[in-house]
Protein backbone atom coordinates (compact mmCIF):
# COMPACT_ATOMS: atom_id res chain seq x y z
CA UNK A 1 0.00 0.00 0.00
CA UNK A 2 1.30 3.41 -0.92
CA UNK A 3 0.15 6.65 0.64
CA UNK A 4 1.40 10.05 -0.48
CA UNK A 5 0.68 13.02 1.74
CA UNK A 6 1.27 16.66 0.87
CA UNK A 7 4.25 15.95 -1.41
CA UNK A 8 6.09 19.07 -2.57
CA UNK A 9 9.14 19.51 -4.74
CA UNK A 10 10.79 22.80 -5.59
CA UNK A 11 13.98 22.57 -7.66
CA UNK A 12 17.04 24.67 -6.90
CA UNK A 13 16.24 26.79 -9.95
CA UNK A 14 12.99 27.78 -8.22
CA UNK A 15 10.78 25.66 -10.48
CA UNK A 16 7.85 24.31 -8.52
CA UNK A 17 7.48 20.79 -9.91
CA UNK A 18 5.01 19.46 -7.35
CA UNK A 19 2.80 21.39 -5.01
CA UNK A 20 0.84 19.47 -2.42
CA UNK A 21 0.15 16.12 -4.06
CA UNK A 22 -1.74 13.53 -2.00
CA UNK A 23 -3.29 10.20 -2.95
CA UNK A 24 -3.36 6.57 -1.95
CA UNK A 25 -2.81 3.43 -4.01
CA UNK A 26 -4.31 0.20 -2.62
CA UNK A 27 -2.93 -3.31 -3.20
CA UNK A 28 -3.08 -4.46 -6.82
CA UNK A 29 -4.27 -1.20 -8.35
CA UNK A 30 -2.77 0.04 -11.61
CA UNK A 31 -2.76 3.82 -11.67
CA UNK A 32 -2.23 5.74 -14.89
CA UNK A 33 -0.60 9.10 -14.31
CA UNK A 34 -1.28 11.49 -17.16
CA UNK A 35 -0.56 15.12 -17.85
CA UNK A 36 1.34 17.40 -20.25
CA UNK A 37 5.15 17.48 -20.42
CA UNK A 38 6.47 19.42 -17.47
CA UNK A 39 3.43 18.69 -15.30
CA UNK A 40 5.66 16.89 -12.80
CA UNK A 41 4.85 13.26 -13.67
CA UNK A 42 8.49 12.15 -13.75
CA UNK A 43 9.31 14.16 -10.65
CA UNK A 44 6.42 12.55 -8.77
CA UNK A 45 7.54 9.04 -9.61
CA UNK A 46 11.15 9.85 -8.75
CA UNK A 47 10.21 11.45 -5.45
CA UNK A 48 8.70 8.13 -4.36
CA UNK A 49 11.99 6.20 -4.52
CA UNK A 50 13.97 9.38 -3.92
CA UNK A 51 15.94 9.48 -7.14
CA UNK A 52 14.74 13.05 -6.68
CA UNK A 53 14.65 14.31 -3.10
CA UNK A 54 11.21 15.70 -2.22
CA UNK A 55 11.18 19.12 -0.55
CA UNK A 56 8.50 18.14 1.94
CA UNK A 57 5.67 15.68 2.48
CA UNK A 58 5.34 12.00 3.32
CA UNK A 59 5.57 8.91 1.15
CA UNK A 60 4.40 5.90 3.13
CA UNK A 61 5.06 2.46 1.72
CA UNK A 62 3.48 -0.08 4.08
CA UNK A 63 3.83 2.43 6.92
CA UNK A 64 7.50 3.11 6.20
CA UNK A 65 8.02 6.84 5.60
CA UNK A 66 10.52 6.93 2.70
CA UNK A 67 11.61 10.60 2.84
CA UNK A 68 12.76 10.12 6.44
CA UNK A 69 15.10 7.21 5.71
CA UNK A 70 18.88 7.37 5.93
CA UNK A 71 21.09 6.13 3.08
CA UNK A 72 21.40 2.48 4.13
CA UNK A 73 17.71 2.23 5.01
CA UNK A 74 16.80 3.91 1.74
CA UNK A 75 18.76 1.26 -0.17
CA UNK A 76 16.84 -1.46 1.66
CA UNK A 77 13.58 0.28 0.81
CA UNK A 78 14.53 0.85 -2.83
CA UNK A 79 15.09 -2.82 -3.48
CA UNK A 80 11.40 -3.45 -2.85
CA UNK A 81 10.36 -0.76 -5.36
CA UNK A 82 10.77 -1.87 -8.97
CA UNK A 83 11.24 0.83 -11.55
CA UNK A 84 10.78 0.63 -15.30
CA UNK A 85 12.22 3.47 -17.34
CA UNK A 86 11.58 5.51 -20.40
CA UNK A 87 13.95 4.33 -23.14
CA UNK A 88 14.67 1.24 -21.06
CA UNK A 89 17.80 2.51 -19.20
CA UNK A 90 19.45 -0.89 -19.46
CA UNK A 91 23.19 -1.06 -18.99
CA UNK A 92 23.67 -1.50 -22.71
CA UNK A 93 27.08 -3.12 -22.70
CA UNK A 94 26.12 -5.84 -20.24
CA UNK A 95 24.32 -9.03 -21.24
CA UNK A 96 20.58 -9.44 -20.85
CA UNK A 97 21.13 -11.83 -17.94
CA UNK A 98 23.41 -9.39 -16.13
CA UNK A 99 20.79 -6.69 -16.55
CA UNK A 100 18.11 -8.91 -15.03
CA UNK A 101 20.43 -9.97 -12.22
CA UNK A 102 21.23 -6.32 -11.51
CA UNK A 103 17.76 -6.22 -9.99
CA UNK A 104 19.25 -8.28 -7.14
CA UNK A 105 22.05 -5.78 -6.40
CA UNK A 106 20.34 -4.53 -3.26
CA UNK A 107 20.28 -8.07 -1.89
CA UNK A 108 23.82 -9.30 -2.57
CA UNK A 109 27.15 -7.97 -1.36
CA UNK A 110 29.68 -6.07 -3.48
CA UNK A 111 32.08 -8.94 -4.21
CA UNK A 112 29.33 -11.36 -5.09
CA UNK A 113 27.93 -8.90 -7.59
CA UNK A 114 31.39 -7.96 -8.85
CA UNK A 115 32.28 -11.61 -9.54
CA UNK A 116 28.78 -12.24 -10.97
CA UNK A 117 28.24 -15.08 -8.47
CA UNK A 118 24.61 -14.73 -7.56
CA UNK A 119 22.75 -17.24 -5.34
CA UNK A 120 21.21 -20.20 -7.18
CA UNK A 121 17.68 -19.09 -6.40
CA UNK A 122 18.34 -15.64 -7.90
CA UNK A 123 19.62 -17.18 -11.11
CA UNK A 124 16.72 -19.65 -11.39
CA UNK A 125 14.33 -16.78 -10.73
CA UNK A 126 16.02 -14.62 -13.36
CA UNK A 127 15.61 -17.39 -15.93
CA UNK A 128 11.95 -17.79 -14.94
CA UNK A 129 11.39 -14.06 -15.44
CA UNK A 130 13.14 -14.07 -18.80
CA UNK A 131 10.90 -16.96 -19.80
CA UNK A 132 7.86 -15.03 -18.58
CA UNK A 133 8.68 -12.01 -20.74
CA UNK A 134 9.55 -14.29 -23.66
CA UNK A 135 13.30 -13.70 -23.88
CA UNK A 136 14.66 -17.06 -22.73
CA UNK A 137 16.72 -17.43 -25.92
CA UNK A 138 18.36 -14.03 -25.55
CA UNK A 139 19.89 -14.39 -22.07
CA UNK A 140 23.50 -14.21 -23.28
CA UNK A 141 23.05 -11.41 -25.82
CA UNK A 142 24.22 -7.93 -25.09
CA UNK A 143 21.38 -5.58 -24.21
CA UNK A 144 22.19 -3.22 -27.08
CA UNK A 145 21.66 -6.05 -29.57
CA UNK A 146 17.94 -6.21 -28.79
CA UNK A 147 15.03 -4.33 -30.36
CA UNK A 148 13.18 -1.63 -28.43
CA UNK A 149 10.31 -3.87 -27.34
CA UNK A 150 12.70 -6.62 -26.27
CA UNK A 151 14.78 -4.14 -24.27
CA UNK A 152 11.75 -2.93 -22.43
CA UNK A 153 10.90 -6.56 -21.60
CA UNK A 154 14.36 -6.88 -20.06
CA UNK A 155 13.62 -3.71 -18.10
CA UNK A 156 10.43 -5.33 -16.81
CA UNK A 157 12.28 -8.52 -15.85
CA UNK A 158 14.90 -6.44 -14.01
CA UNK A 159 12.24 -4.64 -12.01
CA UNK A 160 10.52 -7.93 -11.17
CA UNK A 161 13.80 -9.53 -10.13
CA UNK A 162 13.79 -7.09 -7.24
CA UNK A 163 10.74 -8.94 -5.91
CA UNK A 164 8.99 -5.59 -5.57
CA UNK A 165 6.02 -4.48 -3.50
CA UNK A 166 5.41 -1.57 -5.82
CA UNK A 167 6.17 -0.81 -9.46
CA UNK A 168 7.05 2.69 -10.64
CA UNK A 169 6.83 2.93 -14.40
CA UNK A 170 8.08 6.01 -16.24
CA UNK A 171 6.81 6.39 -19.82
CA UNK A 172 7.29 2.69 -20.69
CA UNK A 173 6.20 3.16 -24.30
CA UNK A 174 7.80 6.51 -25.12
CA UNK A 175 10.06 5.14 -27.84
CA UNK A 176 8.03 2.18 -29.06
CA UNK A 177 5.70 1.79 -32.04
CA UNK A 178 1.95 1.57 -31.34
CA UNK A 179 1.71 -2.21 -31.61
CA UNK A 180 4.71 -2.91 -29.37
CA UNK A 181 3.43 -0.27 -26.94
CA UNK A 182 0.21 -2.22 -26.53
CA UNK A 183 2.08 -5.50 -26.05
CA UNK A 184 4.29 -3.99 -23.39
CA UNK A 185 1.38 -2.36 -21.55
CA UNK A 186 -0.56 -5.62 -21.66
CA UNK A 187 2.42 -7.52 -20.26
CA UNK A 188 2.88 -5.02 -17.43
CA UNK A 189 -0.78 -5.13 -16.45
CA UNK A 190 -0.91 -8.94 -16.63
CA UNK A 191 2.07 -9.20 -14.34
CA UNK A 192 0.58 -6.74 -11.88
CA UNK A 193 -2.59 -8.86 -11.82
CA UNK A 194 -0.65 -12.13 -11.35
CA UNK A 195 1.22 -10.74 -8.38
CA UNK A 196 -1.34 -8.35 -6.99
CA UNK A 197 1.21 -5.56 -7.44
CA UNK A 198 0.26 -1.90 -7.19
CA UNK A 199 1.77 0.20 -9.98
CA UNK A 200 2.00 3.84 -10.97
CA UNK A 201 2.39 4.25 -14.71
CA UNK A 202 3.43 7.64 -15.91
CA UNK A 203 2.20 7.80 -19.50
CA UNK A 204 1.44 10.52 -22.00
CA UNK A 205 -0.72 8.42 -24.34
CA UNK A 206 -4.25 8.98 -23.03
CA UNK A 207 -5.79 6.13 -25.03
CA UNK A 208 -3.29 3.62 -23.66
CA UNK A 209 -3.78 4.96 -20.15
CA UNK A 210 -7.55 4.57 -20.42
CA UNK A 211 -7.31 1.10 -21.88
CA UNK A 212 -4.94 -0.39 -19.33
CA UNK A 213 -5.33 1.32 -15.96
CA UNK A 214 -7.83 0.87 -13.14
CA UNK A 215 -7.66 4.49 -12.20
CA UNK A 216 -6.39 7.72 -13.73
CA UNK A 217 -4.68 10.59 -11.97
CA UNK A 218 -4.32 13.76 -14.02
CA UNK A 219 -1.48 16.12 -13.14
CA UNK A 220 -1.28 19.71 -14.27
CA UNK A 221 1.44 22.14 -13.17
CA UNK A 222 2.31 20.01 -10.15
CA UNK A 223 -1.26 19.55 -8.89
CA UNK A 224 -3.72 16.70 -9.08
CA UNK A 225 -6.58 17.99 -11.24
CA UNK A 226 -8.31 14.67 -11.85
CA UNK A 227 -8.55 11.44 -9.89
CA UNK A 228 -11.08 8.86 -10.96
CA UNK A 229 -11.96 5.87 -13.14
CA UNK A 230 -10.79 5.82 -16.80
CA UNK A 231 -14.34 6.26 -17.95
CA UNK A 232 -14.44 9.65 -16.28
CA UNK A 233 -11.94 11.09 -18.75
CA UNK A 234 -14.26 13.25 -20.76
CA UNK A 235 -13.18 15.79 -23.32
CA UNK A 236 -13.80 18.42 -20.71
CA UNK A 237 -11.47 16.79 -18.22
CA UNK A 238 -8.77 16.34 -20.85
CA UNK A 239 -8.88 20.01 -21.74
CA UNK A 240 -8.49 20.80 -18.05
CA UNK A 241 -5.40 18.58 -17.86
CA UNK A 242 -3.72 19.33 -21.16
CA UNK A 243 -4.98 22.73 -22.20
CA UNK A 244 -5.92 23.10 -25.84
CA UNK A 245 -3.38 20.87 -27.55
CA UNK A 246 -0.47 18.65 -26.77
CA UNK A 247 2.57 18.33 -28.95
CA UNK A 248 4.98 15.63 -28.00
CA UNK A 249 8.18 15.64 -29.90
CA UNK A 250 9.29 12.21 -31.06
CA UNK A 251 12.85 11.39 -31.94
CA UNK A 252 13.29 9.63 -35.24
CA UNK A 253 15.85 7.16 -36.50
CA UNK A 254 17.67 9.59 -38.76
CA UNK A 255 18.32 12.00 -35.91
CA UNK A 256 19.71 9.17 -33.83
CA UNK A 257 22.09 8.09 -36.60
CA UNK A 258 23.38 11.62 -36.98
CA UNK A 259 23.88 11.75 -33.24
CA UNK A 260 25.93 8.55 -33.20
CA UNK A 261 28.11 9.86 -35.98
CA UNK A 262 28.67 13.15 -34.19
CA UNK A 263 29.65 11.19 -31.11
CA UNK A 264 32.29 9.25 -33.06
CA UNK A 265 33.75 12.51 -34.29
CA UNK A 266 33.74 14.03 -30.84
CA UNK A 267 35.68 11.00 -29.58
CA UNK A 268 38.41 11.48 -32.17
CA UNK A 269 38.53 15.18 -31.40
CA UNK A 270 39.08 14.46 -27.73
CA UNK A 271 42.00 12.13 -28.39
CA UNK A 272 43.62 14.97 -30.29
CA UNK A 273 43.08 17.48 -27.57
CA UNK A 274 44.77 15.21 -25.04
CA UNK A 275 47.95 14.84 -27.11
Amino acid sequence: MLRIEGLKKTYKTGDKALSDVSFEVPQGQVVGLIGPSGAGKSTLIRCINRLVEPTSGNVLLNDLNLPALRTAELRRARRRIGMIFQEYALVERLTVMENVLSGRLGYVGFWRSFMRRYPDTDIANAFRLLDRVGLMAHADKRADALSGGQRQRVGIARALAQDPELLLIDEPTASLDPKTSRQIMRLIVEICRERGLPAIINIHDVVLAQQFSDRIIGLQAGRVVFDGPPAGLTEDVLTRIYGEEDWTAMRNGAAEDAEAEAEDKAQAEKMLRAL
Partner: protein, 270 residues
Amino acid sequence: MSVASVETPVWVHRTPVKRLMLWAGWLGCVALFVWCWERMTQRTIWAFVWDAPNAAADIGSRAFPPRWSYMERLWAPLWDTINIATLGTLLGIMMAVPLAFLAASNTTPSRLILRPIALFAIVATRSINSLIWALLLVSILGPGILAGILAIALRSIGFIGKLLYEAIEETDIRQVEAISATGASQGQILTYGIVPQVLPSFYGISVFRWDINIRESAILGLVGAGGIGAQLNSSLNMLAWPQVMLIILVILGTVIISEWVSAKVRHAII
Protein backbone atom coordinates in the same frame (compact mmCIF):
# COMPACT_ATOMS: atom_id res chain seq x y z
CA MET B 1 24.95 28.54 -39.13
CA SER B 2 22.54 30.18 -36.79
CA VAL B 3 23.05 33.73 -37.99
CA ALA B 4 19.76 35.54 -38.14
CA SER B 5 19.45 36.95 -41.60
CA VAL B 6 18.38 40.54 -41.86
CA GLU B 7 16.77 41.57 -45.12
CA THR B 8 18.61 44.54 -46.61
CA PRO B 9 18.34 45.82 -50.14
CA VAL B 10 22.13 46.19 -50.57
CA TRP B 11 24.04 42.97 -50.18
CA VAL B 12 27.41 43.27 -48.43
CA HIS B 13 29.52 40.30 -47.42
CA ARG B 14 30.35 41.80 -44.03
CA THR B 15 29.38 45.01 -42.30
CA PRO B 16 32.02 47.78 -42.48
CA VAL B 17 32.82 47.58 -38.76
CA LYS B 18 33.25 43.83 -38.94
CA ARG B 19 35.45 44.21 -41.99
CA LEU B 20 37.60 46.79 -40.27
CA MET B 21 38.00 44.58 -37.23
CA LEU B 22 38.94 41.66 -39.42
CA TRP B 23 41.60 43.69 -41.20
CA ALA B 24 42.92 45.02 -37.90
CA GLY B 25 43.10 41.45 -36.61
CA TRP B 26 45.06 40.29 -39.65
CA LEU B 27 47.39 43.27 -39.44
CA GLY B 28 47.99 42.53 -35.76
CA CYS B 29 48.82 38.93 -36.56
CA VAL B 30 51.28 39.93 -39.29
CA ALA B 31 52.95 42.47 -37.00
CA LEU B 32 53.22 39.89 -34.23
CA PHE B 33 54.67 37.40 -36.67
CA VAL B 34 57.30 39.82 -37.93
CA TRP B 35 58.27 40.80 -34.40
CA CYS B 36 58.50 37.15 -33.31
CA TRP B 37 60.59 36.33 -36.35
CA GLU B 38 63.01 39.16 -35.58
CA ARG B 39 63.32 38.09 -31.95
CA MET B 40 63.80 34.46 -32.83
CA THR B 41 66.46 34.96 -35.48
CA GLN B 42 68.48 37.49 -33.47
CA ARG B 43 71.13 34.93 -32.69
CA THR B 44 70.90 32.89 -35.85
CA ILE B 45 74.16 32.59 -37.75
CA TRP B 46 72.98 32.93 -41.34
CA ALA B 47 76.20 31.57 -42.79
CA PHE B 48 75.27 28.17 -41.35
CA VAL B 49 71.77 28.44 -42.76
CA TRP B 50 72.97 29.24 -46.30
CA ASP B 51 75.46 26.43 -46.06
CA ALA B 52 72.76 23.95 -45.00
CA PRO B 53 72.15 22.39 -48.44
CA ASN B 54 75.86 21.56 -48.71
CA ALA B 55 75.89 20.16 -45.20
CA ALA B 56 72.79 18.10 -45.95
CA ALA B 57 74.35 16.70 -49.10
CA ASP B 58 77.50 15.92 -47.18
CA ILE B 59 75.74 14.07 -44.37
CA GLY B 60 73.47 12.33 -46.86
CA SER B 61 76.38 11.03 -48.89
CA ARG B 62 78.10 9.78 -45.76
CA ALA B 63 74.97 8.15 -44.31
CA PHE B 64 74.46 5.84 -47.31
CA PRO B 65 74.45 2.92 -47.31
CA PRO B 66 73.27 2.22 -43.76
CA ARG B 67 75.58 -0.05 -41.80
CA TRP B 68 73.42 -3.19 -41.76
CA SER B 69 75.90 -5.22 -39.70
CA TYR B 70 75.23 -2.89 -36.75
CA MET B 71 71.77 -4.45 -36.51
CA GLU B 72 72.96 -7.27 -34.22
CA ARG B 73 73.79 -4.67 -31.56
CA LEU B 74 70.34 -3.13 -31.86
CA TRP B 75 68.07 -6.08 -30.96
CA ALA B 76 68.59 -5.77 -27.21
CA PRO B 77 67.96 -2.00 -27.02
CA LEU B 78 64.94 -2.43 -29.29
CA TRP B 79 63.52 -5.01 -26.87
CA ASP B 80 64.18 -2.53 -24.04
CA THR B 81 62.37 0.20 -25.95
CA ILE B 82 59.27 -1.94 -26.38
CA ASN B 83 59.37 -2.91 -22.69
CA ILE B 84 59.69 0.71 -21.63
CA ALA B 85 56.63 1.61 -23.67
CA THR B 86 54.52 -1.36 -22.55
CA LEU B 87 55.40 -1.39 -18.86
CA GLY B 88 55.23 2.40 -18.77
CA THR B 89 51.75 2.33 -20.29
CA LEU B 90 50.59 -0.32 -17.79
CA LEU B 91 51.98 1.62 -14.85
CA GLY B 92 50.45 4.82 -16.19
CA ILE B 93 47.06 3.13 -16.48
CA MET B 94 47.27 1.84 -12.91
CA MET B 95 47.82 5.37 -11.63
CA ALA B 96 45.50 7.13 -14.06
CA VAL B 97 42.36 5.05 -13.40
CA PRO B 98 41.87 5.96 -9.73
CA LEU B 99 42.86 9.55 -10.56
CA ALA B 100 40.20 9.71 -13.27
CA PHE B 101 37.49 8.53 -10.89
CA LEU B 102 38.61 11.17 -8.38
CA ALA B 103 38.59 13.85 -11.07
CA ALA B 104 35.23 13.09 -12.70
CA SER B 105 32.56 15.33 -11.23
CA ASN B 106 30.00 12.51 -11.03
CA THR B 107 32.19 9.98 -9.22
CA THR B 108 34.50 12.10 -7.10
CA PRO B 109 34.13 11.50 -3.37
CA SER B 110 35.12 15.05 -2.53
CA ARG B 111 34.43 17.92 -4.85
CA LEU B 112 36.33 20.56 -2.91
CA ILE B 113 39.57 18.84 -1.98
CA LEU B 114 40.32 15.65 -3.94
CA ARG B 115 38.90 16.76 -7.28
CA PRO B 116 41.10 19.87 -7.73
CA ILE B 117 44.15 17.88 -6.62
CA ALA B 118 43.40 15.12 -9.12
CA LEU B 119 42.78 17.65 -11.88
CA PHE B 120 46.06 19.42 -11.16
CA ALA B 121 47.94 16.12 -11.18
CA ILE B 122 46.42 15.34 -14.57
CA VAL B 123 47.29 18.74 -16.07
CA ALA B 124 50.80 18.78 -14.60
CA THR B 125 51.75 15.30 -15.83
CA ARG B 126 50.26 16.05 -19.24
CA SER B 127 52.07 19.38 -19.73
CA ILE B 128 55.52 17.90 -19.25
CA ASN B 129 56.94 15.85 -22.08
CA SER B 130 58.26 12.37 -21.30
CA LEU B 131 61.77 13.41 -22.32
CA ILE B 132 61.76 16.04 -19.57
CA TRP B 133 60.47 13.53 -17.07
CA ALA B 134 63.25 11.22 -18.20
CA LEU B 135 65.85 13.94 -17.78
CA LEU B 136 64.66 14.48 -14.24
CA LEU B 137 64.36 10.81 -13.34
CA VAL B 138 67.78 9.95 -14.74
CA SER B 139 69.29 12.59 -12.52
CA ILE B 140 67.44 11.09 -9.55
CA LEU B 141 67.51 7.33 -10.20
CA GLY B 142 70.54 7.06 -12.41
CA PRO B 143 70.51 5.92 -16.03
CA GLY B 144 68.60 2.80 -17.03
CA ILE B 145 65.26 1.59 -18.23
CA LEU B 146 63.56 2.13 -14.85
CA ALA B 147 63.84 5.88 -15.37
CA GLY B 148 62.41 5.41 -18.86
CA ILE B 149 59.44 3.36 -17.64
CA LEU B 150 58.61 5.91 -14.97
CA ALA B 151 58.96 8.80 -17.41
CA ILE B 152 56.56 7.15 -19.86
CA ALA B 153 54.18 6.27 -17.02
CA LEU B 154 54.09 9.81 -15.68
CA ARG B 155 53.39 11.35 -19.06
CA SER B 156 50.68 8.72 -19.72
CA ILE B 157 48.85 9.53 -16.48
CA GLY B 158 47.85 12.94 -17.73
CA PHE B 159 46.75 11.71 -21.14
CA ILE B 160 44.79 8.66 -20.01
CA GLY B 161 43.46 10.43 -16.92
CA LYS B 162 42.08 13.34 -18.92
CA LEU B 163 40.35 11.23 -21.56
CA LEU B 164 39.03 8.75 -19.02
CA TYR B 165 37.57 11.31 -16.66
CA GLU B 166 35.82 12.99 -19.57
CA ALA B 167 34.41 9.61 -20.59
CA ILE B 168 33.19 9.01 -17.04
CA GLU B 169 31.51 12.40 -16.95
CA GLU B 170 29.74 11.62 -20.21
CA THR B 171 28.17 8.36 -19.10
CA ASP B 172 24.42 8.01 -19.61
CA ILE B 173 22.87 8.96 -16.27
CA ARG B 174 19.70 7.04 -17.01
CA GLN B 175 21.60 3.77 -16.79
CA VAL B 176 23.20 4.87 -13.54
CA GLU B 177 19.81 5.98 -12.23
CA ALA B 178 18.28 2.61 -13.08
CA ILE B 179 20.97 0.80 -11.12
CA SER B 180 20.57 3.08 -8.09
CA ALA B 181 16.81 2.49 -8.19
CA THR B 182 17.39 -1.22 -7.51
CA GLY B 183 18.89 -0.34 -4.13
CA ALA B 184 22.52 -0.88 -5.21
CA SER B 185 25.38 0.38 -3.06
CA GLN B 186 27.92 3.00 -4.27
CA GLY B 187 30.42 0.31 -5.27
CA GLN B 188 27.77 -1.60 -7.17
CA ILE B 189 26.60 1.53 -8.98
CA LEU B 190 30.20 2.08 -10.06
CA THR B 191 30.77 -1.48 -11.32
CA TYR B 192 27.34 -2.00 -12.91
CA GLY B 193 26.32 1.49 -13.99
CA ILE B 194 29.53 3.30 -14.91
CA VAL B 195 32.33 0.83 -15.64
CA PRO B 196 30.55 -1.03 -18.49
CA GLN B 197 29.89 2.30 -20.15
CA VAL B 198 33.47 3.56 -20.07
CA LEU B 199 35.23 0.26 -20.74
CA PRO B 200 35.35 0.58 -24.56
CA SER B 201 36.80 4.10 -24.45
CA PHE B 202 39.22 2.93 -21.80
CA TYR B 203 40.60 0.19 -24.07
CA GLY B 204 40.77 2.57 -27.01
CA ILE B 205 42.61 5.23 -25.03
CA SER B 206 45.10 2.73 -23.59
CA VAL B 207 46.04 1.22 -26.94
CA PHE B 208 46.30 4.66 -28.53
CA ARG B 209 48.62 5.78 -25.75
CA TRP B 210 50.74 2.64 -26.09
CA ASP B 211 51.27 3.47 -29.76
CA ILE B 212 52.39 7.02 -28.87
CA ASN B 213 54.60 5.64 -26.10
CA ILE B 214 56.48 3.39 -28.53
CA ARG B 215 57.50 6.53 -30.45
CA GLU B 216 58.45 8.39 -27.31
CA SER B 217 60.42 5.56 -25.73
CA ALA B 218 62.57 5.31 -28.84
CA ILE B 219 64.26 8.61 -28.02
CA LEU B 220 64.42 8.46 -24.22
CA GLY B 221 67.88 6.90 -24.51
CA LEU B 222 69.20 10.30 -25.64
CA VAL B 223 69.12 11.41 -22.02
CA GLY B 224 70.16 8.04 -20.61
CA ALA B 225 66.79 6.45 -19.89
CA GLY B 226 67.45 3.21 -21.76
CA GLY B 227 66.33 1.81 -25.10
CA ILE B 228 67.48 2.36 -28.64
CA GLY B 229 67.96 6.11 -28.16
CA ALA B 230 71.20 5.40 -26.29
CA GLN B 231 72.69 3.83 -29.44
CA LEU B 232 71.46 6.79 -31.44
CA ASN B 233 73.15 9.15 -29.02
CA SER B 234 76.52 7.39 -29.09
CA SER B 235 76.43 7.02 -32.88
CA LEU B 236 75.68 10.74 -33.20
CA ASN B 237 78.52 11.61 -30.87
CA MET B 238 80.91 9.51 -32.97
CA LEU B 239 79.44 11.06 -36.15
CA ALA B 240 78.88 7.49 -37.36
CA TRP B 241 76.24 8.48 -39.92
CA PRO B 242 75.66 5.01 -41.46
CA GLN B 243 74.77 3.71 -37.98
CA VAL B 244 72.52 6.71 -37.36
CA MET B 245 70.78 5.98 -40.63
CA LEU B 246 70.17 2.36 -39.66
CA ILE B 247 68.83 3.29 -36.23
CA ILE B 248 66.41 5.78 -37.71
CA LEU B 249 65.20 3.17 -40.19
CA VAL B 250 64.69 0.71 -37.30
CA ILE B 251 62.75 3.30 -35.29
CA LEU B 252 60.61 4.11 -38.32
CA GLY B 253 59.85 0.41 -38.85
CA THR B 254 58.88 -0.05 -35.19
CA VAL B 255 56.65 3.00 -35.27
CA ILE B 256 54.85 1.80 -38.39
CA ILE B 257 54.33 -1.69 -36.92
CA SER B 258 53.05 -0.32 -33.62
CA GLU B 259 50.65 2.00 -35.42
CA TRP B 260 49.35 -0.94 -37.42
CA VAL B 261 48.96 -3.10 -34.29
CA SER B 262 47.17 -0.35 -32.40
CA ALA B 263 44.78 0.33 -35.28
CA LYS B 264 44.01 -3.42 -35.53
CA VAL B 265 43.43 -3.82 -31.79
CA ARG B 266 41.26 -0.73 -31.54
CA HIS B 267 39.23 -1.94 -34.49
CA ALA B 268 38.77 -5.37 -32.88
CA ILE B 269 37.68 -3.93 -29.52
CA ILE B 270 35.24 -1.25 -30.55
